[in-house]
Amino acid sequence: MLHHIFKQLWAQRKYNTWIFIELMIVFVLMWALTDFAFVMLHNKSIPQGFDANDTYLVTYGIYGSETSRYNPAENDSAKIPENLDLFVRKIKAYKNVEYADLTFLSWGSIPFSGSRTNTFVIKYNSSDSLEISAEAKNVRSGDFFRIFRYTSAKDNSWERLASIDLRQNNSILITRMVERGLFGDESAVGKTVMADIGEGKRNYVVADVLNDQKRFDYTLPYGAVFGTSPQVSAKNITDFAVCIRTKQGTPEQRFIAGFRKEMTGQLRIGNFYLEDIQSFNRLKEDINYSFGVTNEVRTHMALMVFFLLNIALGIIATFWFRNETRRSEIGLRMAMGSTRTTLQLQFIAEAIILFTVAVLPAVIINYAIARTGIIGLNTDLHKYETVTEALYITQDFTLCFLVVNLITYLLLAFIILFSAWIPARQASKTHPVEALQDE
């Protein structure tokens, strides 16, 4: 039957040229789109390393001296920390709040902030020049880990981390990625490393190791280190904000609306006022949007749908009109004993084989594009930016290439199968006598 189908396709090559070219072009385009989708989905499926559900960021504003609500009496260096403390305590007492604490904001210390600070972490007293790049985060108190639920690699708990006082013994926390990079299979706990977490390059002792974490939804995990933050004082008030974790399952919109309504008046303490409350999920969406990722995903999806629709339309059209020109042939086959099913299968097989033949040159084109980067696919950031090599499938060029092409093939084959089946069904309903009579 296969041989027969090939003969058919070749005999009708004039009709088939258009759809053949289209299949080739669309395969190349779909491969590029699928490549993007594959990398994105793959990255999204990697565990975040913390849990931002049920968490909120509360920022406070301070009335400046030129505003109408400024109270100069509340502006001395004793009153300010006092007022801020009251601000935080009132939030802690609000209903449904499980944990609330003052957190250090600067340079990427809280999740989904737009900025980050990088530092190089080096083994203390090591002969090799091994440096691991990591994001430096500053933590004011242990509650930070209870709020965001960063987990220890040892027992996957955050309590363990929360109970470590980073201000003692020059402690620092690192993630698994840093540990692997510097110490290989050995445990890093208790060892000394050099890093700059905002106090200049200093030595720190590793108090615990955290599970790997991602900066954004769609990126690969990156190394990170956690150290102490400065203490809050009248001078650095604007470097802090309050983070909240509510009881699990507290509805987000209602909590925010209720908080704004009930606490705006209460939180006018001294010159402090409630500026904004936002959920971290919302902040995550906003940052994805700001970095253009959300729209990139949407455009790619829209383009995929567009090209798939075109292919579907093309296949339906080609095979439907072929029915009309091959009516006599169909009638003859049925008269000679072909069942309806066989007929449908033959049609579908023709379509799939035509498609497969078109895929072969297309894969070569894909390879050329991927290797030479003629058309920038913009996925390098998502595929490769991580610290240690060869941890993830996206970093293996050959494997990734084969997998993505396979997925593209299957996706298109499915659409083609379905699109060829519709006219095939129609054709199989032909009455042999009528068809032959037409002739």
Binding site: Y15, S68, G265, Y289, R298, N310, A317
Partner: protein, 437 residues
Amino acid sequence: MIRQYFKQAWQLIRQNRLFSAIYVAGTALGISMVMVMAILDYVKTAGIYPETTRSRLMYAKSISVEPVDTVRFKYFNSGSLSYKAARLLFMPLQTPERVSVMMQGADFASLPNDDNLTRIQSRYVDADYWKIFDFRFVSGKPFSDADFASGLQVAVVSESLAKNLFGRAEAVGQYMEYGFKPYRIAGVVKDVSYVMAETYSQIWMPYTCINDYDREDSEREGMIGGVGRVYLLAHSESDFESIRKEVDENVRKFNAQATEWKIDLLGQPDIQSVVIHRFWSNIGPDMKKISIQNFLVLFLLLLVPALNLSGMNSTRMEKRLGEMGVRKAFGASRAKLTNQVLTENLLLTGLGGLAGLLLSYLILLFTRDWILDIGKQFTDALPEGTPVDFSISMLFNINIFLIVLLVCLVMNILSALIPVWRSLRKNIVDSLYIKYN
């Protein structure tokens, strides 16, 4: 003659309903994507309220500085222009009709001493801003040169903000607080759509209200600061070149006397079609690459549906082979026949174009919250509660309709020419033979 073609075409459509339906659907699909791109481009570049003078405007929004002494300072710096930079490089320009400086912000608006706070976007402008853009005042008027010079705390607000705060649009003379500072309302303007990137705001105040608007940063020769935009309104487009030359001359003069940092405007001031692609302060838009990319995308969006349609036309031409043979036998030339088929095809393509245009309106309606930000490498998330509206005039206008027409013609030729030409190459006898055997 054309009428007869159309009549015949209409008959053909009615006889082959299925084919026509699929053909129109295929065309609509292709055209809708192209029209979405065309409408977005139109909205971003054509003269629309209140940015009616876009064709004569030039913009500057960032500056790059490089160290003179590369031993002491190793890195380039870049950022927004400072007031000093605007004052030295743009304000003394003679060629433009007007020069205006704008700064941006976001803060809380409220009634005096009220706890009901609304977060809004703001723009700090000068008196010339109102003469460059065409705002429509519902009541009151813009602040005067005198107000601006004295740094008086007056504000122009949008109609919806006035209604939000005071319950009605006639709010001139009333007081409100922005950032907890009092402002007297001098005028109320008709709402500006969020779609208008340079003028969207809820409140406009003189930038002389900002305490330190002209504060010079001690580093980088004070050339980097907080200015959002500098607008240059030319008398006409032909002045663009001379404006650029004048600006370059000012830059050269500055660099000649600079001791620590030299400046580079990276190709600015930009015209409208370029400024919408400038996102970073340290690197300018590669317009050539962008044009090629856009062309490629347009080409692919048209090509793939055109391939579908060509395939369908091929099949259809086969069926009409007999008819073509007979016509040729009666003396019709190949050119005449090609014309006829193309014209008939045009009717179908036209219907597809109409359907495609309607589909594109639907697409824009459902994606309006984010579709304007496509292709931006860095963008701001939509402020909470901001409605994005495409006004009627943005969607229904001569330019859009002309573009649809053009796209239809292109599509028509792409999808019909080759099949027709190939089928007409057969000689008469073969055509008649194939059909009737």
